[in-house]
Symmetry: D2
Subunit: 472 residues, 4 copies
């Protein structure tokens, strides 16, 4: 059995008289002047402080200590944490079988411009209390669609102006992006839509989103091709669609240069969902596409851990694959459930996984100008405002714990040594010839005959795991 009319869901919520604006908040809501609300959105929540591992206070960091130096850098500079506007401020708790559950006190049940602005104020209070410096957004989640593209652009400008003001001097977007998957016009894709009008519309939307990202001082711009894929090969011309996608991205590169936007362009792979197959399936598939169309110098990759596991890889695999291809640009810090076959976008809470993630980050020399974006959401059933803080704190602490573990691991040095030794037979004359491309089959056969049966030592995987676990 399955999902009902979305329109019906909205009606149900409206009809059932759910209060989205609790009586115990003095600030008025729902009125025409509601965007003026400048009161505190999270009145019970202080600025989150570091209290150390022994603290039992849920509203405190136990591992993340922003200015503490680890492996030669401040924690905040390794992390470059960002709040994802859409999950935190537009997430509703709805799912394919259920209506929204989250009725935040500042929401008035509309998506008016006034509401959009009030939400933006909540966003910056949240960022401030969390103590981070970055945020991420889609054009359409910060400002409402208009009846025309021009009106949508104008709505966006109005909200962006407020965001610019609220950013102040130290906060800026880690990245911006265009939402090219929610509106029905994008049901067949954006750059890969079968309709030329949709392609043009998407281009116009990316153009504008890139402009406002640039205006806000954003450091990256992301492409997530949620509808760039197919539901069935029977009705799809995959080759033509991929050619269109490449043309679209080339035009984006040109436009970026034209407006002087120096941010990194990032592609975010996801194997499937909502489509059966998305063209940016995983890091390797995205790399193949970029190389085929001569785009591999212009893009990096934004890796989302939950997407990694949905594509059959560990997150660590995707990070390492990107890293050794020079493509690691940003991380959407979340995780999935190993028994679930769809995107759950949970906050990453696994210490072991966090340690592996941080290992790749440290090996990459950090992520800048990328960072960690919390592309993660509360569970549908988590409906307290404080849950938003608890989830972010746990996510940040888990990665901070990962970083601390990596420091232990690297300082100990025995894991690196184990790996170095494993390959030392290649630090030989023949090894060098092979690596220089100078070892042909005749020469190698001669060696093989000469050497006889090669000795093959244990891979010491259990020992490697023991060393790794000891760091946790």
């Amino acid at each position: 059995m399955l999902s009902e009319s979305i329109i019906d869901i909205c009606s149900q919520i409206a009809d059932s008289g759910v209060q989205t604006c609790p009586a115990n908040l003095e600030a008025g809501c729902g009125g025409a002047d509601s965007d003026e609300w400048e009161g505190e959105f999270f009145p019970g929540i202080p600025k989150i402080k570091y209290e150390g591992p022994s603290s039992k206070n849920p509203i405190a960091y136990k591992y993340y200590n922003a200015n503490e130096e680890i492996l030669g850098k401040k924690m905040k500079d390794w992390m470059r944490f960002s709040v994802a506007f859409w999950h935190t401020f537009r997430g509703t708790g709805g799912d394919p079988f259920g209506a929204p559950t989250k009725m935040w006190p500042w929401e008035d049940g509309t998506n008016s411009l006034a509401m959009a602005k009030r939400r933006m104020r909540a966003n910056f209070e949240f960022i401030d209390k969390l103590g981070v410096d970055r945020w991420c957004f889609h054009d359409r989640d910060i400002a409402p669609d208009g009846k025309t593209l021009a009106e949508s652009n104008s709505n966006l400008d109005e909200v962006v102006a407020l965001a610019k003001e609220l950013q102040g001097s130290h906060v800026k977007p880690l990245w911006g992006t265009a939402q090219l998957f929610m509106h029905p016009r994008y049901m067949h894709g954006a750059a890969t839509s079968s309709e030329v009008g949709v392609y043009a519309y998407a281009a116009a939307q990316v153009k504008k989103a890139m402009e406002v990202t640039h205006y806000l001082g954003g450091e990256n711009f992301v492409f997530w091709g949620g509808r760039e894929g197919y539901q069935s090969l029977l009705n799809t011309n995959m080759e033509r669609e991929l050619d269109h996608m490449a043309a679209f991205l080339k035009a984006a590169v040109e436009y970026k240069k034209k407006i002087g936007f120096n941010g990194t362009l990032l592609i975010e792979p996801k194997p499937q969902e909502p489509t059966k197959h998305q063209y940016d399936w995983d890091v390797a598939t995205t790399g193949s596409f970029l190389r085929k169309y001569g785009l591999s110098d212009e893009f990096k990759i934004n890796i989302e851990c939950n997407h990694a596991t949905l594509s059959g890889h560990s997150c660590h695999h995707e990070l390492e694959t990107a890293r050794i291809n020079g493509l690691l640009g940003n991380i959407d810090a979340n995780t999935g459930d190993p028994q679930i076959g769809w995107d759950t976008d949970q906050f990453l809470t696994d210490i072991s996984e966090a340690t592996l993630v941080m290992l790749s980050v440290v090996r990459n020399g950090g992520l800048a100008p990328g960072g960690f974006n919390f592309d993660a959401k509360l569970r549908r059933e988590s409906t307290d405002v404080e849950d938003l803080f608890i989830a972010h704190i746990l996510g940040m602490d888990t990665l901070a714990r990962g970083l601390r573990n990596v420091a232990k691991l690297l300082e100990d040095g025995s894991l690196d040594e184990l790996v170095r030794k494993r390959y030392q037979s290649f630090d030989s004359e023949t090894g060098a010839a092979i690596e220089a491309g100078k070892a042909d089959f005749d020469m190698l056969e001669k060696k093989a005959m000469e050497w006889g049966e090669p000795s093959v030592p244990s891979a010491k995987q259990e020992l490697a795991e023991m060393i790794f676990q000891s760091s946790l």
Copy 2:
């Protein structure tokens, strides 16, 4: 990246001025009197006829010939097809990443009582044109939620009265059910909610839904526990929740008897989605639960093929498991995508699968009082009214083709013979003793010593597959 506010989606649709009521339909819509619309909803579509396999007409049956007799029964009596109201009339094409796409001409963008009634008229025109006799519904998809339970019940009564009238003499519900998963109140479950108030509310809702199903002449009543499960064991008392679920179902059995409803109570297993784990995971899990709580004589199982595959089984496995446990009650005829890890609820179009499904049905002597409910939906991108017909016709034809293949297979007889022969060593004295529970280990050891190394012939799986494929 993920889903935006549902409220926002609705706003977007509204804001973007999408026409839900095309100008080329003369009947007015959206007005206060819209429930009076008695014009044709599907003006271009005739009553669907059987035209045989050579027909190229998409709006005709090529295999389903309702009154043709196969294996001693009319096709329609084997099939007992039913239209699922929710997918066909409340499906919007929305998904977790996308707003609704389907703007049927008869929809006015509301979920008013008037709209509910107009939709019901469309339902019966659809049923009539398709030439089937049954339909299925959830209480809340046919009538809007009210502000109170009493108002919801009254809304339901009003729509049900119209449905009763429109059913006429030959159409009736294959089954009804209560929607206990969409509303936020059910976010922790209904019978397994941690809140006693929700348990009581759910009981009241099932009570009413059972009454109206009985009133409409429904033949079965279904329980799909979409929220009866958990998201995390950390915050869940699974044992207490299961006890509550059993108490709830026992009360349902009592109430059924009290009101003289003779329909079958059906449980519909699904492994997960929306929750991480649903208590009615699969047929075996449901059977275990029913047996533990002494309920196995009171319930049968409604098997959905897509749910079967999501639980790691073939649909045929689930059907056979139910059949040999005397639990096969109804089939929700749909299918999933073998590469997709969530519920896609596609129409079943695979001939081989349909043949296996029909094999179980025929071995079960049919499904009555159950039948085949088309718990299947158009793809999000299928937005023509005619797509509704094409999908149902293809689904019905595929199962009809399956039935024809089963007839071929059984008439040929060689597959049954292959299986019979495979086990013939048990048609012996020792075999009989074993099957009668009279063969103890001492006796068996004596036999084993006496017989020596047993001969073990080929399982002939390739031959079995060849015979099966020949029937397609």
Copy 3:
């Protein structure tokens, strides 16, 4: 591409002159008198000691301190660790694409009786050095198959006599079992074979295995139905096979009682592999089967974590399902790889998972007379003798760490409190009526009308996770 002839593999190894008996061991090997080898098998390895978390010694426990008391019991009494003979002494590193890789110094390349006895000596030296008290075995992995059943039994008796002697006063089998899946005669199953001769042979084999388990002081007897299932439903009579399986298990219960064996009978579920579908799919399926055939008082369940995840569940889910059904009997302590769809039988190294496992064990009041059997193997590429120790030490330490974490979690108490509070609305008069089976639909509807829209608080999953993570 796929696997070659197994016979060929053996030939290759033999032909390629791999030395299975290194020159640097003084004890002779491969000779007729090789079972007399009583020298040290692991000369470089001392008795493993507890050195605490700061130790960097791979051959030492950092968390497992056998006699330390935790939560009112000694660690060794919570754990009841057991070495699995087959993985540790018969695992070869072979896989479907590769020949054996492990050439332990004590192996002479045969499976002679003499070799079987020498291996048994190695087993007890290993157990002694590890400092555990239990071991597990299949009949056929400790003693070679004979040409007849009588000869196999006699081989078994000879090896068992030595094992009995080597066990001394404090070591005994956690469990024994009969290997009913390796020999070609069992290719269609044992109790569910289509051949009555195989059924009898299997019965004789279980009879004998149960006798020797009893003789050795074994505390449990396990049934793993690796071939009790089907490859295809097309050539299978599932109903008849399940009836046979039940008859077989009933005969086993009778025989156990007849010989005065008081050990627990355990069924070990696994969803599939080697067959497409195994009848003991998971805990729920096994429970359903036991209940259907009236066997639920006679059997408990042996849960293997890797099997749990292959069936789509977390290991914790399977443990809790067994626990609340009174069926938790033993744990095969291993784990799988979340990206791998077959049984990898890895040692459990994940701290978070180990903590959840131990949470179930503590809630169950321990596992006795069951325990933790290390049904886990070295990776194919781990070919040093010391890898055997490292793997076991890491596995034991990980579970010990889990137990320590559970102690922290329970002593803190806030997670239990969170769960208790979540359900407190049922600690009311109506709640009590529901739980007593006295709340009918009329009464509940009245309550629902009276109470109005129920309030539904946050599930606090993020907080629960934070508390849990804090214990790690």
Copy 4:
């Protein structure tokens, strides 16, 4: 629980006295002169004939009619069927939990040179009776490993000389390959082994295998990197391993040119198994690798359907991805089980899948110089010699049926027309500008503003499926 000693398995089979040489075959076996056996290997089996769809004869083609012309080519020229030596003549039925089950009458239980030659004679009788012209082999499955590389090469030469003779004028290898995964020396990989000696050994082995493939008139040479991957990233230098793999393949290209071998070099992707991650994960990953290292003009891809589905794609997806990248070289015709997470290498029997496969082949203009290799095996439980024929006949007939369906589909033309129409908006001036890379964001935004909300028609997926199903 898991696998026993492979050595033990062999011993068991030997000990249990299984007859590998049935008495009812007159030809002697097992003796020193057994390679002289030139009698009939399949005495009851005639040359397989085409008898048409109504035939009930299992030993006859119902759809494959070699010389019948379809879509302008003879069926045999579309198909280019090949028998896989390893599955058909070296497959034993063994699995990780079970000893060999197949005791073909011509096998003497050894892997002697004499046995290798007799097996080769059986191969060519099989090929002849089946009526195909091609076969595929690994070096080590046709001839036994020697004690040294030189001896292995000499064994290979001896068997290859016989194969050359038996090939006669019309049979030749579709492809040859080197087996670089079975022997323990390759446990860490071949080209990606951590040991330089193994790299050299593998090079020597490929060199020789390429020579004999060339000598036998082989049309392609395959690389399946079953061990080119990792078990754990913790002990792996992935970047260095990939560099080595590229160096190895470059050396192979050079050697091919040096010896004048004009066959196509093929890489066969597989996501995992035996390793956790194989570097040739899928078509896109392989394409990315080839492009990164400048090898994309030198290699094509050999697609195996079962590997496709294990990587999360449909087989059709992998074929189309290869086709539009100019990489489709060969097909390993098999299939997996949608509920099974490991490689089952079953014969493809699904008509719908076969039709999709043939659709790609026809769109590719055929596969030559590649073809269809039956990389598929009998089930473990299929132990009759005739099962080998039944399986191949069913596999060939299924693909032949697929080809016939494609002919129907293309002749009907409506599916192609549906797809063409879907993209027709790009057959416009703006569409042409986009496809020529001349449409920048400024121009596109202007168009978007001018055009207003684009119209987005139904994707007609249900209709496309109906048309497709009608062809079956």
